[in-house]
Symmetry: C2
Subunit: 387 residues, 2 copies
């Protein structure tokens, strides 16, 4: 297979084994852990061009390129990462990891607990956004990167980018939060709770020890995914995609009818259960619910952003109703009041929350322009490559 | 207990036993069936003041008043039905029934099949909106009512009101469809499918024969109710009601945190499973999905409405996103193009789809004004009561 010209091509995941204990927000300590990551592009000698990608609920380290010659699909954010793309690998050295608690190779519920010889399962601690950022700092140290040119993420990934700006102001030059929120709305928490409830009430969940019982709570996890799917799309977008087309059955004959959208959702739900871990799903949604940087400043988001030194780009999408433009506007308002350097845009799109994964022209242009300007303001002093 | 002055007071459900077979849309025939209903107000001698209430997904016949002196709560639409209320029982003789396939006493999955001695369960046919209307016509005949002054319903109830106007134009003078739709959007169907999937994948569902197994798919039915709850409210309304208040746990200590909204949803989900039947939930959501009067006119809703002779009132609510104002506007547009007499309003409310159950001032005023004017246009010729 020939890869597209603007693809990063073949990529190989790497592994960072950290022996330094990580103190978690819940009081636990991870004595050591492993992070799987990929990199795209070339790190300059002065290490000034590193860009960190933070993934969302169901994401992972494989954000761009292909794992093999016959790989059917590229990484999850290939629309935005590659030579000449918005996140331009001709300019940036892109680092993308699977977060702690994930299920794609980094230490999490699915990995073995050496002291028991079984997977951690439900005993894996509830890591939160601040924990991820701390582990990402350790990864940056491991790669010899003192300062990130940018931290970029959508949804839960955007929350990590914001937390970087607050917790490590001298280590990040630009923060991009796409389709994100400074904290979830009650409705958004409610959808997460329903998804969790679907998983935990599956008879095969076995209080999270489904691997021990050689089971998988497929129905519950599939339901959770279906809820995510419907709520991450917009009403109009679903109408365009599915309408009310009938998949099987016939109204006239009285046969049971199935709509295309039902068939699609059921397929997506089933497929998801084959590669995603239920305990990870619980952990990720809890991290979403709990994110609230203003909790440390008595609810004052302006004060929470006070330490930040970087530039900000805040993007949202018109039809995204789980992470609505209003939530992004709250971030922007607080940043403005905190006298930070912030650019923002609401992108017209009918694709709901999923828009952040798609090559929408105005979105890609806004992201690319911001990142390239950010890099230009910190010109490379060692390699002399013209920007 | 003293009932409020504008309450219909104590009411007693009645039973209509129909021996006339009912031919269903799916080709089956019900040889006979029973309908439980209540009435409020007094039928005039000329029987010109009858008003039929059609219930929605989880509704039933008990729409107003109290079943006993110590009844804690009145019927589900008590906000709108009573002396001097929008549906004024000083003027109207209100009939409210539990639909076929329901689980509150009318023939449905939960009632006994005389030929087997067991409950019908999943063998009960999938009745649809047209079937309900036909059974409601039989009930009207039983009560000696030739022409209804009005048929009124919200959501799935509004669909029945519309179907009455189309199928029995000479038997209805006014049709009120509140927070309804001429057909569901793909998103709305998707939420229904997720709810159904939650029920059918519960280990206690037993392919619908849970009564035979002395079980109840409580977790699945509870989940379905939770999905309904969240989607029938608005994001803003939930924010006002719950915010992000914490019910238990403590962020600082790392204890597991539960938000008020989670606690509320879990309570509501559990409570629902104690009085609602899972097979009825499946049946009602399928009836919602399948409703599409324009199917018989090759998708032309204007032509579908052509037979109607009555006045229409179409109401919707600004924050209702499962039965949005746009869906109601589609009904209004088609009625206008069909040259029907139609009034409509979009009511400002932050309570989402549930608004139709609430005493919202402008809503109640619009409903009351329309109904009283409708009645005034067909003045009573027998009783001589001034209107």
């Amino acid at each position: 297979m020939t890869f597209p010209k603007n693809s990063v091509g073949l990529v190989t995941p790497q592994r960072y084994v950290c022996d330094t204990p990580l103190a978690l927000q819940n009081g636990d300590t991870l004595d050591g852990y492993e992070l799987v990551y990929e990199t795209y592009g070339k790190l300059k000698a002065d290490k000034s061009n590193a860009l960190l990608i933070c993934h969302a609920l169901s994401g992972h380290h494989h954000a761009a390129g292909y794992h093999s010659e016959d790989d059917a699909k590229p990484g999850w954010w290939d629309a935005c990462i590659g030579p000449g793309k918005a996140i331009d690998t001709d300019r940036f050295f892109v680092v993308s990891l699977n977060n702690l608690g994930g299920c794609h190779g980094s230490t999490g519920p699915r990995t073995l607990n050496p002291s028991t010889g079984k997977s951690h399962g439900p005993d894996f601690p509830n890591v939160v956004v601040k924990d991820w950022v701390n582990s990402q700092v350790a990864l940056a140290d491991h790669l010899g990167i003192k300062t990130l040119a940018a931290v970029v993420g959508g949804s839960l990934g955007g929350m990590q980018a914001l937390q970087w700006a607050i917790d490590y102001p001298d280590r990040v030059k630009a923060c991009v939060a796409i389709a994100s929120a400074a904290k979830l709305s009650a409705q958004n928490i409610a959808f997460n709770e329903i998804a969790r409830r679907a998983i935990t009430s599956d008879q095969d969940f076995n209080e999270g020890r489904y691997f021990d019982a050689e089971k998988n709570p497929e129905r519950g996890l599939g339901l959770a995914r279906m809820i995510g799917h419907v709520t991450y799309l917009s009403d109009d977008g679903m109408g365009t995609k599915f309408g009310r087309d009938i998949k099987s059955g016939d109204f006239g004959s009285g046969a049971d009818v199935e709509f295309q959208v039902e068939s699609y959702l059921n397929y997506q739900g089933r497929a998801f259960t084959q590669y995603f871990d239920a305990n990870t799903y619980l952990l990720m949604t809890k991290a979403l619910d709990h994110f609230d940087p203003a909790r440390e400043t008595n609810g004052d988001l302006v004060e929470a952003f006070a330490p930040a030194l970087c530039k900000f780009l805040v993007l949202s999408f018109s039809s995204d109703w789980r992470f609505s433009a209003e939530r992004s506007q709250e971030i922007v308002d607080a940043l403005v009041r905190a006298k930070k350097n912030v650019a923002s845009a609401v992108i017209e799109s009918e694709h709901g929350h999923d828009s952040f994964l798609l090559p929408i022209e105005r979105y890609v242009a806004a992201l690319g322009t911001f990142l390239n300007q950010s890099l230009a303001e910190h010109p490379n002093q060692a390699d002399g490559e013209p920007i």
